[in-house]
Each structure stands twice: as structure tokens, then as C-alpha cells.
Amino acid sequence: MRFSIYRYDPEKDSKPYMQELELENTSDDMMLLGALLELKKQDESLSFRRSCQEGVCGSDSMNINGRNGLACITPLSELKEPITLRPLPGLPVVRDLIVDMTQFYQQYRSVKPYLIVHDPEPEVERKQTPEQRDKLDGLYECILCGCCSTSCPSFWWNPDKFLGPAALLQAWRFLADSRDQAEEERLKNLEGPYRLFRCHTIMSCVDVCPKGLNPTSAIGNIKNLMIKRSI
């Protein structure tokens, strides 16, 4: 199988280049990450992140044939040759397929992705009805791989000011949580022309999410809540 892989080592290379690589003995049930690990045996300097190898940790997100995804759950058999691998778009490249996710995490942190409760701590756990719990389905599963935010044109143009789909999905995850008591504070944090409203409903985020989540609908829910609150 033929591969074309983005290579850049800032200590050696003056600019990035695409490296052509061949891999023999690939099996039908092999995932892309398996192939990358084989390629790394050929060229040890090839760098990429990976950890769990089963789509749970979100480390090996990359741009695969022009589409963001996780290498470990992308079957080789589904990819057209030459398989072109690039780092996630829009973020600074550290080396080869590794990007600096600082901006992504900063936006995530800024939505306060944890429960804020003003009431005194109860003696037993904070209870939810099954219906209240159901509202968190499709929100809590995010693994922060960054595929959505780095496929979002609005995030490319304003990564410092626009929160991006991943952080906005988490903003809604805590707004939707019956146990959270900071609704007003959270909504206030999302006001202004940039943080939430740079979203133009392009829906690339929904298209690429490897977990099948829908940040666009979460953003819509936040807007609806804002409207309800302002009336």
C-alpha cells in the first residue's frame, strides 16, 4: 500500500514536505494505526501520537485523505491510495503528525467543564431522574480528540476567540445537566460576537466526529436557551 505522509522536523527541515512510503503485507482487517506502527519500523523518525488504539483516548486524530479522523478506528480497506496523512489542520505542528493542542485545550478550559453547585453538599449523592440523565447522552461521550474543532473553518480563522465545536458541546453538556447551578454565569460567558456566534452552522464538526456526536445541535440548543432567557 502506498502512503504519502506529511513530514516536518523543525530542528532539521526548513519547511514541511510529503514523504512517499510503501507498506507490503497489509491485511484486510488492519486499521490505519497498525499500518503507521509498521511504517515506524521502517523509519523510526516518523512521529505521531497514539495510546489506547481503540478509539477511546483520542490521541491519534489526524487528517486522513483530507478528512479528520482517528487512525486506530479507520480501516485501511476503506481508504483510497495513496493514503495521504497530514496533521490536524489549523493548529501549529510540533513534528510530523503531532500538533500543539494548547489553543484547543484553552478554549475547553474556558467553558468550565465541571459541575458548579452553590448548594451545600448533600449527605448522599446528587440524584438525577432517568430523564434528566438521558439529556446528557450524546454530550458526555466526547473524547477531546479535536477532529471537530480543527475541521471547523470558523475555528481556523479565529482559534483564539471562537470556542470551537468541542468546547461548545461541553458548554451545553453542563448547561443541560440538572445538577449544575451556574446557568446564568455559563450563558454570560458565551455572549459576544465571537465565543459562540462565530458558528455559521457549516456542520463539518458533525461530519467528522469519530464518536458520532452533534456539536451543531448542541450549539443550537445553547442559542435557544439564550433566547428563552432573554425574553
Binding site: P153, E191, P193, F197, K223, S230
Partner: protein, 112 residues
């Protein structure tokens, strides 16, 4: 001020879009329903009290919609503060001139 540029503009973009969609349907269907169209019929329709008010609101809505749209595009792509201010003022000026011109035309037609 923050309201205007965030939630406010988002809501107004939708209100103006809805108004224009409905108004355009009314506008086009009024002329389809006429058996023939000539200058006098056109003048008559546009200077009818109800129509002229709807048309004038339509002018405002189309300028508002264009302003909010172009502002979004400029905020996405034009980052240097001075360049952004110049481009925004350029479009604001064009839209204001268009609005004044359209209103003036309507007013003159009504005074005829």
C-alpha cells in the same frame, strides 16, 4: 452593546430573513395576479399605503440583513483593526446610500 453583536445580531439576521422571504412572496404573487403589468400599475402598487410601508420596511430589512452578513464575513477574514474598520465603514456607507436612495425614490413616487 455586547447583546447587539452576539445574540442580538443573530436574532435580527433571522427576523430580517423571514420578513424578506414573506415580503418577496407577497411582492411576486401580487404581480402574478395582475392580468397585465405596465408602468402605471407598478406605480399604483408601490404607492398604495400598505404596500409602500411594507416596501419601506423591506428596504430597511434588506440593508440590515446585508450589513449583518457582510459584518460576519469581515469579522471572519479581516483581522487587522484598521483594515477591518475601513472595510466595515466602506460597506456601511454603501448600504446607507442605498437606503437613502431607495427611500427617496419611493417618496418621490408617492408625491407624484
Amino acid at each position: 452593546m455586547r447583546q447587539i453583536s452576539g445574540l442580538g445580531s443573530w436574532i435580527w439576521q433571522r427576523i430580517s430573513a423571514l420578513y424578506l422571504a414573506l415580503f418577496l412572496m407577497y411582492f411576486i404573487s401580487s404581480f402574478i395576479l395582475l392580468d397585465r403589468i405596465d408602468y402605471n400599475r407598478w406605480l399604483e402598487w408601490n404607492t398604495h399605503p400598505v404596500n409602500s410601508i411594507l416596501l419601506f420596511i423591506g428596504f430597511i430589512m434588506i440593508m440590515l440583513h446585508a450589513w449583518l452578513g457582510i459584518k460576519d464575513v469581515i469579522m471572519d477574514y479581516v483581522h487587522p483593526v484598521v483594515a477591518r474598520a475601513v472595510v466595515l465603514m466602506f460597506f456601511a456607507l454603501i448600504l446607507i446610500v442605498c437606503l437613502v436612495w431607495a427611500s427617496q425614490t419611493l417618496m418621490m413616487a408617492m408625491l407624484k
